[in-house]
């Protein structure tokens, strides 16, 4: 027993290095972009989450307080204006509710399928990427709130923001549209065009690249690009505007540069679309707690 301990003490460094190398190789084997965090990793990230939340709330609080103190007058004016607007909107909402009910009843009469709003989960941003070669966000909701891998994420105004990546119990990582690994199908949203292409993020560049467009694709500067709809994305989420078009692959295809509608650096609140099957039977009750305007064609 003592001899073993002596041996361990004598060769402490070598043993440490060997263990270390084994662990290192183990992790290299686990390398892969498409893996989820295991339980241990998820636990560590969840344990660190309160730290992020605290730092973030301090930052937000100080920002808000400074703003109120420094331009008290404009904040007050803004408050008045917003109050007016809320009243206005409330009135409009009542009207819309009436129309919705009518619409629902008529659809029932005609036995139409109803377009359900997407089911969404809201979350707020608690962290960004900690290095310069990737663009991700960390939000404060995870699998406990119903978020899974590969769910589309939009900003509050409905613009596509990214897709969920690693999800732990209480946090989720979002791969942003301008990350080098981001890929999605894009569609030119113009009545006489509807051409398809592949949208890719570019590392260290806020503009997106859309390539694999047909050589005769009808795409012009100023066109709006939306998602083309696939297994992971619903159809018609706005992405950005075309700012330049050029031939690619020696003229066999075309490529376009796209300015995204959303500035990913300013995002503070996000919505994760957990279900975007737009057609449901009328007999199923509608979930009206969180709603995002679904696509209506």
């Amino acid at each position: 027993m003592i001899a073993v301990l002596e041996f361990l003490k004598e060769h402490r460094k070598k043993i440490l290095i060997i263990i270390f190398v084994i662990v290192l190789i183990r992790f290299i084997n686990l390398v892969g972009r498409d893996r989820d965090y295991n339980r241990f990793e998820g636990l560590i990230i969840d344990l660190l989450k309160p730290g992020f939340v605290v730092v973030n709330s301090i930052e937000e609080f100080s920002k808000g307080t400074f703003r109120v103190i420094l331009d008290y007058k404009s904040v007050k004016e803004e408050n008045e204006k917003l109050k007016d607007k809320v009243e206005n909107l409330n009135y409009n909402l009542k009207q819309i509710e009436k129309i919705m009910l009518e619409n629902h009843r008529l659809r029932e009469l005609l036995n139409f399928k109803e377009f359900a709003p997407y089911k969404v989960v809201g979350g707020s941003v608690i962290g960004h990427s900690s290095e310069n070669w990737s663009n991700v966000l960390v939000i404060d909701r995870g699998s406990k709130a119903g978020i899974r891998r590969k769910m589309p994420v939009v900003a509050k105004n409905g613009y596509l923001l990214g897709i969920t990546q690693q999800v732990t119990a209480h946090t989720a990582q979002i791969l942003l549209i301008n990350d080098g690994n981001f890929v999605a199908g894009g569609l030119v949203q113009r009545k006489d065009s509807r051409d398809l292409g592949v949208i890719k993020g570019q590392t260290q560049e806020s503009r997106l690249l859309m390539n694999n467009l047909a050589w005769d694709a009808d795409i012009r500067v100023g066109d709006t690009i939306v998602t083309s709809g696939s297994q992971y994305y619903p159809k018609g989420l706005p992405i950005g505007k075309v700012i330049s078009v050029s031939p690619d692959n020696y003229g066999l295809t075309q490529a376009a540069l796209i300015a995204p509608f959303i500035d990913v650096r300013r995002v503070e609140e996000v919505l994760v679309i957990t279900d975007f099957s737009t057609k449901v039977d009328l007999l199923e009750p509608l979930n009206s707690d969180h709603q995002l305007e679904g696509e209506r064609e």
């Binding site: 662990v23 992790f27 730092v55 962290g127 290095e131 070669w133």
Partner: protein, 167 residues
Amino acid sequence: MMVYLLYGFLILLALILQTTIIPYSLFYNIIPDLLLIIITLLAIYRGKTVGGVLGFITGLLQDWFSGGLFGINAISKTIVGYLFGFLKDHIYPKNIMVPPVGVAIATIINQLLVVSFTDYLLTGLSIEAVFKSVIIPLVIYNSILSIVINIVIYKIDNYLARRKFID
């Protein structure tokens, strides 16, 4: 024990700052690598074993909080920490020029390792673009911050020495 506790706390604080407040807007849209600065300085002060182990742990932590290729920071930071550990006893770490210059070199090595391990960066970007858009601003940023962090680490060491936790 106290040593590890304090250093652990320092690393966690750096990680949280790096991922929450600092991102963007401050300097050329570049995120400084506080963790790399801490590893480099501690490796110079305490040798290659501490450098390597700390590099691995902090790199792994960073990997969990950033997208891209998983494990890349763990490997590159381990190598940098281990390499800079060899400098212990060979240079005089109290010299004012050591932290900025050391961290600058460490940043270049670390970034080149990251880029050369990641295939989509290696094929998608030219080496000039890599230097111009990320490495040079990052080197400047890290070097400036290293002076501040060096003072923090120096204060911690002083405190520990006074309490006789270390010699």
